[in-house]
Symmetry: C2
Subunit: 108 residues, 2 copies
DNA sequence: TTGACGTATAACCGAAGTAGCATATACTTT
DNA sequence: AAAGTATATGCTACTTCGGTTATACGTCAA
């Protein structure tokens, strides 16, 4: 989990996750959204890969990145152990989660 | 959020959160659970403080630490935007969260 | 008031992370 | 095979991290 938390500690990498959440993208597509250089992006992607947060797939001469949910799930599960500490938000959160849980059951 | 994610990237600091989740503790109480020195612990605690994850209160000559939920809530909320990526776990998670949501409603 | 206790900070260390530039690798098209 | 495009890695300089020892400071007890 260290790697996942560390990877998400950087705003650019969180933004990458946000972009990949919309749809999978190649490196050059991702690059359009950032100011920094391509090697810098590749390094961010490597960290995200090593943290298990994203995966790559060869796509001709491109490399297509996508989100891998498991690592995100791991750390979220860890965090949810402490959800009672922000119970002020439990109303809003609870609503969302309750709906989500129902959806989950329905899908089963 | 950078600081919170970064603070949680260290296993010792996550353990501190776990200990403080049981109950608030003084520095020396926390120290019993670790191998490293007191200054090392103080540094971890400083990072957790700066990330807004914990707060201190003077208690005579002791300093008592406790969890502050808001920062945990912030990052968890961020992560939950991507929960659809680990829907395989949604069953187990959904069960927990559903119960939690019900408890929230009951407590209201 | 003196001394022990509890905690924080400072100074320092080696290891590891970060950013920019240059370069290597790999696939595609001609 | 050559040239172009897409992506990854190396290198170097700089910063940060996690730990240590030494020390400062406030509080309590005697």
């Amino acid at each position: 989990m260290d790697l996942a938390f560390r990877a998400l500690a950087d705003p650019s990498r969180r933004e990458i996750i946000g972009l990949l959440a919309e749809r999978s993208r190649t490196v050059s597509e991702l690059l359009e959204h950032f100011e920094f250089t391509q090697p810098a992006l590749s390094k961010h992607l490597r960290l995200l890969r090593e943290a298990g947060l994203v995966a790559v797939e060869d796509d001709g001469r491109f490399r297509r990145y996508r989100i891998v949910g498991e690592a995100l799930g791991d750390i979220t599960t860890w965090l949810l152990h402490y959800r009672r500490f922000w119970t002020g938000r439990l109303d809003a959160l609870g609503g969302v989660l309750d709906r989500e849980a129902k959806k989950g059951r329905r899908a089963r």
